[in-house]
Symmetry: C2
Subunit: 614 residues, 2 copies
Amino acid sequence: MSAGINTYKTDLREIFFTLFEQFGFGQVAGQAPYDAWGPDEAKAVLTETYRFAREVLGPLNSVGDREGCRVENGAVFTPKGFKDAWNKLYEQGFKTVAVSPDHGGQGAPMMLQVTVEEILSGANTAFNMYPGLAFGAAEVIAECGTPAQQKQFVERMLNGTWGGTMCLTEPHAGSDVGAAKSTARRNADGTYNIRGTKIFISGGDHDMAGNIIHLVLARIDGAPVGTKGLSLFIVPKLRINADGSAGQPNDVTVASIEHKMGINGSATCVLNFGENDGCLGELVGTVEHVGMSQMFKMMNGARIAVGIQGVSLASAAYYNAVDYAKDRKQGSHFTKWKDPSAPRASIIEHPDVRRMLLDIKAHVEGIRALIIKLAMHLDKAKQLAGKDDDAATYHKGQVEVLTPLVKSYGSDQAFRLCAQAMQVYGGAGYIQDYPVEQYTRDSKIFSIYEGTNHIQAMDLVGRKMGQAGGAHFQQFMGDVGSFVEAHREHPVLGEAVKTLAGAQEGLMSSAMALFGWSQDAGRFPLIPLSANRFLNMMSEVAVGWLLLDAAVIAEKAAASVSADHPDKAFYEGKKFSALWYARNVLPNVEYAARLIATEDTSPMDITDAAFGGV
Amino acid sequence: MSAGINTYKTDLREIFFTLFEQFGFGQVAGQAPYDAWGPDEAKAVLTETYRFAREVLGPLNSVGDREGCRVENGAVFTPKGFKDAWNKLYEQGFKTVAVSPDHGGQGAPMMLQVTVEEILSGANTAFNMYPGLAFGAAEVIAECGTPAQQKQFVERMLNGTWGGTMCLTEPHAGSDVGAAKSTARRNADGTYNIRGTKIFISGGDHDMAGNIIHLVLARIDGAPVGTKGLSLFIVPKLRINADGSAGQPNDVTVASIEHKMGINGSATCVLNFGENDGCLGELVGTVEHVGMSQMFKMMNGARIAVGIQGVSLASAAYYNAVDYAKDRKQGSHFTKWKDPSAPRASIIEHPDVRRMLLDIKAHVEGIRALIIKLAMHLDKAKQLAGKDDDAATYHKGQVEVLTPLVKSYGSDQAFRLCAQAMQVYGGAGYIQDYPVEQYTRDSKIFSIYEGTNHIQAMDLVGRKMGQAGGAHFQQFMGDVGSFVEAHREHPVLGEAVKTLAGAQEGLMSSAMALFGWSQDAGRFPLIPLSANRFLNMMSEVAVGWLLLDAAVIAEKAAASVSADHPDKAFYEGKKFSALWYARNVLPNVEYAARLIATEDTSPMDITDAAFGGV
């Protein structure tokens, strides 16, 4: 493919359906604090975002992949065109759609921001990581910083004047963040001297903004070992002048950037702090040793963002593959496959291609629905806080339990679905003329960063399931159960709804097994051994439920649409997404529950030596 | 990773077990035509191959990936070091281990050659494709060529003097080979003038051999449409002089090479034939219009070779990941995970890492066993032909039904397992310092080339299952059944053997369903819709069976080994590979059988428009 050709594709009709018809954007918007927003405003934003994605970001996606970033004299240079795209992105305000007006934003619901993010990330995942990290870092300062810090940093980091990063990982502290060795020494003036090396820092340096604000986890001299001794520091690349502007360099140096499988347009840096004349930082807020919980405010958003990255690429791969399958002729229709003189058919006519496409379609739509549902819970929690605290607690709880699902299932499926889209292309999918091979490479990191998917699974089974005495999980099960009761006799979808009910039973039996093991030290290893499987089961129940929910709505809507209106086919597509998933994926949950019940401990029973190798 | 560091790893103990203890290499060798061979000779060859793989091919693997190939003035230049490796490979005879002494080979069983190939391919997949294609092309000429052609080409192509390719695919004829438009015009002297464009030609040009012999499918003027009108031609890059040496260029031009996701050291060429002053070819053999069946003699071997490529990378990823997991410290032991001052543990101590590693181990060993079993059938078919024709027919039949399993399951699992090995590494797996990201990229093509995995699935259900009145499939089921009967009361493995029995029942019920649909035109689409699932089920039964077979042998052998001998751990590892697979994978077969029985036709019921997109 010639660099510079847009390859991003989505279908706004599908996004509009999920946002407006399935999740009632109009009911969330229109009320404080979202009273300035309604469906028309949201449509305008999404249409404009899609235009920007196709015209500006999409053409830079393969450029970024081929060219990558480079380090010269300790400074990172991003691929050609990125700086211009950065400026345009912020001029048009795509990053501040859901930001509070207090920080210069437009105050829309998160439901809208997550769909905007899907489009930006789908068009150019690597590019969108830079503003994404800046956004996350700004959020932490907005939530945890002093008023002076908020005033100094937040708006600049949200409007693109400055960038931002999160600096957790060190060479011997990846998943094990608490092992971090970076240090902070308190100075007489209240600042801290920061020393240490951080690795895998996305956007750790770049040439698109006037300064970069690093949030650095470090241990103040004398603090306890482990995560409880970590504090969080604001460490600007350029020190801040008395007037608030960026000044002299702050001894943050780029040691190198990584050469990766994908997301090559995103600079993944090794950063050294305080290696030369001293690196100054200031504590976020006023309390020491609470860095982990502060960082976690950013981490939850970051994990949802990874799920969005996942659906964004799977969706882009899907619409590209559909177009290719409609266009590409190969072989004859399967009813005439023995007749060499039969006309050549578009490959979308071949059953196996249709099977692969429908599988991708169903997963993409279901994961997108799960993300928008999660965003709706975020919005309602905010909207109802102080008005109806029970309801707000319910919505917050759903955010807690759904976040690991969005991150893990969104990422695992993204990689699988992008690879399946390659299979639709055949040999063409393996070459760089088409975007799917890049999507596949880019998407592989999603299951690893921001907490590996096993960390997500342990977050779910070891933490979220037990929160509030198990209430969040029970409420999730209650929501699914209510849907089942309401629709199990649906004339078209009833059988599929019953399959969902069976899946839900399987999930409940595995939840009980996990609970039992948590009370039994001898069986404790079964929890980490089963955690990923359980997380996947719960994700399948959630996605299956939301696909069926969408199909119920679509079936109703279709009844009043004339046969030749494009919506007729669209609604039919929603029905088949749900049926495919219910018939081919949901039965997996009961099956997986039986596997969990066998209590297989073979990975613990085998000795290290028996793994072989030398 | 510094280019030039060997990263290839295998465990010869495991290969020796499968070859000698499980499949009785000693009983196949030692008898005509393999009488010069025994276990000692095989061990010596494999030890030498592994040395060569580590010292010569392994260090060139990342070089080939980074540097890729380049075209200058119409000629392909391979990465630095490839030509030297080519010379050494042929000097040491690794490619001719199983070649008949009539063609300058060493006459060993295929069982040995497939393990040699695994090691060569695992060390450097891209490099090993060049001699692999030359080998396949030589085989076709050896089987189908005239005596003069055999004398002229075969030995030169087997000893590395000349290379070789297979030229099937054209821009509009990929899976649909019969749509090829290349033409051949008969000349008065019996030669043919070849014209056309071929794409995706692996090793279509390179700088390592004195000539390249292309086997080109083309349609003689006036021949029928479709595959039945295709003939196969020998088209040398350099015309052959009267003395048999390479002479003047033959108007075969390299239009370009592809930029791919992986196997970058392998030049994937667009070749133009007869674009300028005329390209001369000679018919393979003496009969026109039989090109497809001639080419298929090469294709079956090529498909087995793809399965070997699959296991070679999955195995290399496994042994690298095991080493990394033993070496890398991160977090504390799971029994002390809340104690930040506990000593840091090797990640192999973490349950989820053990789970991922055991899953890779089991699949790799099972697929390797399936490949060696298939090679054993090839050897026995050859050995028994003319001596015991019933037995020879049985062995040939097993080659037929097992080939699509080896190709598809070997390739699908390779990609999945390499990606899972990346997950063991965490973030490090995504960067090029470690080999797993390259393995993942390299392995993705395996499910696509040499017939996509759906073509394999249709080959199985549409062709192989029905061969000889279904006898080959029934004999496969009989072999599995005999094993089940013999071992269902095994004290350690009995439960797992019963799971295999259940899986076999599931497979049989799906086979009956497929048979029923083949008699019912209205249900015909269910066959292509279910074919991949069925192929996967049969692969799981085959792999589960052979893992259990290995475990039975290992359990017996372990009884007479002292506790401190390294074999004790090795045999224990074989047991756990089988138990893992039986407990976590084999139950999938019965489940999949139930999905097949639902006769879901949703991919056919959905309209094209309902797939969405624009």
